[in-house]
Symmetry: C2
Subunit: 382 residues, 2 copies
């Protein structure tokens, strides 16, 4: 593949944007990315979205958003892999540019999910699980993650409070991110007293949904001056069974292990070379499992990194430096592109209070389903 | 891009498969394509589907189908561009292999839409149009096409019966395709007497929905012996406004013109070099518009090719040689892959009664929305 760089990024604040449409949010992120890149168009548009057909009565987002965003007539398509849609669309855009078929590609992730009732959104989210063998049995998406967390606590002897550092770190970092959904510091006491959602997952273990869009412009790296160039040095995707009960090991993210390992190999790095890691903390348990699968902790020891204060921007393994899914918010189909945008901000040194000093290598990992589709990207500042 | 070839194809019969699941249909097509290719797996899976989230309560089809089909753990993702999903996924698979990122890619198109009531499916199909500015006003997808057809007849002076050859050709050809949904010869009288759906579109102007799956295995062309090698020599995609009323010219498929012209250029051919053309005859009017936009007829003269008997397998511009959307059937998100499979069958000389003699160059064109997203592929037998 020819090397591909990220020339521009853009994002909207994640919120309940009741007065704005899906296309409007996507357009704002796209125009911000184009302005950031100093370009006025791109040859193709890759849209990531999970549930517009279910909650917005709209499919065919490629053509819709291309036209609305001033990219009239360009090639445009939508990619879906549940909550992993953003990472998957970013990888599709990468392959488009890497193949030589196009000289520029915009990737935009967008989700508009707060117009519907919570039970409608809960039903839509359950479509990331196996409809015939999981959802049909009545389990919700948070319910599946609760089963995983409960078993993990039992197997490895952790208390619920041991997961608090993941949420506290995310909320602390989001205070400095103007695009984050939640600007609210939390304590261990808040974490322990929060409303239960599905035992043992309470409200402060779980990421909030939201409306938002994020975008990135990809171009061949060879055409740019080396300074200020953020290159995609690793990219890989892997899957596991969609149904959690079909896996030999429900407490290990095999697809995260596979895709991270492939991305490390492609980038020529080891886990210890990753200076910032935007992981997919849809629930606090997922932070632990991701850190373990990607080689930052031994199996069953993920919470230790939080308890030992290693996950803050000044720690050894900085995660969720802009708030993560937990506090930046989780507009499901857009999340993977937000993660990419945030790693770029870190590598550019634009993160102020939560900047990882001198970061030159960062990783974003996006998950669709309860570990079913996992896409890992490694970015480097050249 | 490095050259990419189609090594294997597979398909299911299109029908009302009430006793079979979406994953089961996809698996059958994938296994048939692998058998055809003499392979037992592929590095990645690109799924095309339009409405599983709406009519099957299931998203995240990539991981679901990969696991079910014996491709456990491979990279897998879903592509959606309404009824153009199949062509779009095929193009994504092409870029994956062409980029060098993978040495093989399976593309499978699947749709399972007959379990729901007709009005539910009608609502789902309307999501290919603009939800806020078309569907919200009450127009259905067939209604949009009816407006286009009525205006076309008015502008160019055609009678409804002038479109009969398109449907008669499709039904005649489908008689010889065991995978086709409809095996029923029709006459001009049948065509004129058929039930009205949305004036002037009647039941025999319109393609039937259905359940089905089709698959193709892509590999780098350089690795194959030149005999029996079907190469993707042209590939392009373009969009137009999603809402028909936003177009300066509602009777010309600008996106078809753009994507066909780009594909011709890439393949180094002219329209007269195309020996078989699997076009997107969702409605008879779309056959006329596609032939015009792709350079086979002057504007407003598409129906003339049918009336002059040029569109049969022995004619100058053979279209819908396996039945087209009209009679092979239109499982919306799968259709684009069926078209590719059928062109491959023609180039291999496997079409029996409807074989185009000695065909070496064929084209497939897939449309999402009423002309909004149009993907064109040109295949050549080397």
């Amino acid at each position: 593949m020819r090397p591909v760089a990220i020339l521009g990024i853009g994002q909207t604040k994640i919120d309940e944007h009741w007065k704005r449409s899906l296309r409007d949010l996507a357009g704002e992120a796209i125009q911000a990315a184009l302005r950031d890149a100093g370009r006025d168009s791109a040859e193709a548009l890759f849209v990531s979205n999970m549930m517009s057909g279910i909650v917005n009565d709209q499919n065919n987002l490629g053509a819709l958003i291309a036209d609305w965003s001033g990219l009239h007539g360009v090639e445009a398509v939508k990619i879906e892999a549940a909550c992993g849609s953003g990472g998957a669309a970013f990888r599709a855009g990468l392959m488009g540019v890497a193949s030589g078929e196009m000289e520029s590609a915009l990737v935009v992730g967008v989700e508009k999910m707060t117009d519907r009732s919570p039970h409608e959104v809960t039903a839509a989210l359950a479509m990331a699980a196996d409809a015939d063998y999981e959802a049909e049995a009545g389990v919700s998406f948070v319910g599946l993650n609760a089963l995983i967390m409960r078993r993990y606590m039992h197997e490895h002897g952790w208390k619920h409070a041991d997961f608090a550092p993941f949420s506290i770190n995310a909320h602390t970092n989001a205070m400095h991110n103007p695009y984050a959904r939640l600007h609210q510091k939390i304590t261990v006491e808040d974490f322990e007293k929060s409303h239960m959602v599905a035992t043992p997952i309470n409200l402060l273990d779980a990421s909030p949904i939201g409306d938002g869009a994020a975008a990135a412009l990809l171009v061949p790296a060879g055409t740019l001056s080396q300074c200020a160039c953020i290159v995609i040095s690793g990219s890989a995707s892997a899957t596991d069974t969609l149904a959690v009960h079909s896996r030999p090991e429900a407490l290990f993210l095999t697809a995260a292990y596979k895709s991270a390992r492939a991305a490390y190999k492609m980038a020529g790095v080891m886990p210890e070379d990753i200076e910032v890691f935007e992981l997919h903390d849809a629930f606090s348990i997922m932070s632990a499992l991701s850190l373990e699968a990607c080689g930052f902790a031994e199996r069953g020891q993920g919470p230790r990194l939080g308890l030992d204060n290693k996950i803050s921007p000044k720690g050894r393994v900085p995660i969720c430096t802009r708030g993560g899914l937990k506090a930046r918010g989780h507009p499901v189909g857009a999340t993977g592109v937000y993660q990419i945008v945030e790693v770029v901000q870190q590598l550019r040194g634009e993160c102020g209070e939560t900047q990882v000093d001198g970061a030159r290598t960062g990783m974003a990992q996006n998950i669709g389903g309860s570990g079913a589709t996992i896409i890992t990207h490694i970015l480097k500042r050249e």
